[in-house]
Amino acid sequence: MSVLLLDIVTTAAILFTVATGLMIILGVMKLINFAHGAFLTIGGYAAYVATVAGWSPWLAIPFAALVGLALGLVVEYVIVRPLYARPLDAILATWGLGIIIGQLITIGFGREVQFVEPPISGAVEFFGLSYSAYRLLLVVVAMVIGAALTGLLYFTRFGLNARAVIMNEDLARGLGIDSTKVRLATFGLGAALASMAGALITPLISVDPNLGLPWLVNSFMLVLASGVSIPGLMIVSLLLGGAQVVVSTYISPIIGGLTIVVLAALILRIRPQGIG
């Protein structure tokens, strides 16, 4: 029972971490980034490269974030910028970008599955239970990311500008805010978060060129169901992630894999604006 609780909490933390990059881009730019899965994959390979180079696994995480940031800035400038007026086309173009990234990775690294060392391994005693130390660490990481994003949005000038652009872009521009720059920075940030998340989850799974795909779909559903807000995303990660763990444990892992998608689609039918 208690292990189940820990599973739920750690699963929710992982889902939250993986989805934040997608959410920040959708929230500020009103753009669904279907290259999110590919950015996760890039993060995974960045961590792999760091491992092969013999760097500390701790270093792999900021390295992945930097790679994601650089790539995100380029992608925004080249592909995303012409598509703001065509949101459905933006989904497709970023999906195409995902294919390009996936194929480049395949060409560069091959299709084989690779493994990455976690920064901490083994189990810890937690209220009398033995539980994966790394999974517990990810809960802390998720909380740090949530707090950092909240801080960025609510206590910095960039955050204020971004919120102003979300609420009323025309007014924000009239007050001197360059919304193009806000978007560029946001996409870079979202890509960096996704890439970092990719590096964070790879020690749990393994690295292959299609790593990001299943996470993309779940993140997409969670973000929409969350109503695109940080607390909302925490809640749906806990609720739907929890449902996934329960269904997988007691019914079947195959049905468990569907839980998030189906529940999110139903939530959105009843409340199109999400739970937030």
Binding site: L160, A164, M167, D170, R173, G174, L175, G176
Partner: protein, 237 residues
């Protein structure tokens, strides 16, 4: 007035939405420290002209300059960056942001917030303990004062305001007018007002112009005794 004193110059400007031309061949200017009021009935193109000056709408013809610089094709944030504070007629504040956040958003240099805010509280004392309040919960009059306050805190060269008096109590209108005049006298800011409120316009402005079907139909000095009657004639129903 010599050309070098023009803070805003609009020369032969036509603009509109898509294929529609709403403003036609408009010429006008605002000198340093001058207040100019643009009047006209609804739907005559007044707001369209302001949006064109701000760079929201493409100029179909003509030239717009700010302090001798051609800004005809600049986007809104650049225009604002040149020291222009603009308040649209509707949706002019961020309802879900706090009063402080709304004020900060207008400022190119937020480090001067405390200093500017202290100055402002002398004009609008009610704001002193409302900084953390959500702007959407202010009363209608208070919201308009917030709009003006945001413009003043930016320390602009030019203020563009679209119908700030709409739907306000006379006492509030009075305070807004005094605030504008004081600011002009203290800082030498130039102000371009779009108005329907004749008395307010005549009290505040130095010169007036009337826009009719997108064209400047008439213009004059506010001090002229005939001004009120002439404008009223244009705005008569």
């Amino acid at each position: 007035m010599s050309a070098s004193e023009k803070v805003l110059a609009v020369e032969g400007v036509s603009s509109g939405y898509g294929a529609a031309t709403v403003v036609r061949n408009v010429n006008l200017s605002v000198g340093k420290g001058e207040i100019v009021a643009l009047l006209g009935k609804n739907g005559m193109g007044k707001s369209t002209l302001l949006k064109t000056i701000m760079g929201y709408l493409p100029v179909q013809q003509g030239v717009i300059s700010l302090r001798q610089q051609n800004v005809t094709r600049e986007p809104p944030h650049r225009i604002a960056g040149r020291g222009v504070a603009y308040s649209p007629q509707a949706e002019a504040i961020f309802h879900d942001l706090t009063v402080r956040e709304n004020l900060v958003l207008g400022m190119p240099d937020p480090r001067r917030f405390d200093e500017e805010f202290a100055r402002l509280c002398e004009v609008f004392p009610f704001m002193k303990d409302r900084l953390a309040q959500r702007a959407g919960t202010l009363s209608g009059g208070e919201q308009k004062m917030l709009i003006l306050a945001r413009a003043l805190m930016a320390r602009p060269n030019l203020i563009l305001i679209d119908e700030i008096t709409e739907g306000l109590q006379p006492s509030v209108i009075d305070r807004l007018g005094s605030a504008l005049l004081d600011e002009r006298d203290n800082t030498g800011v130039s102000i371009f007002l779009v108005e329907q409120h004749i008395q307010f316009a005549l009290r505040v402005a130095d010169r007036w112009a009337v826009l009719k079907l997108g064209e400047i139909d008439d213009a004059g000095e506010c001090a002229a005794p005939s001004a009120a009657a002439r404008i009223a004639n244009h705005l008569a129903v």
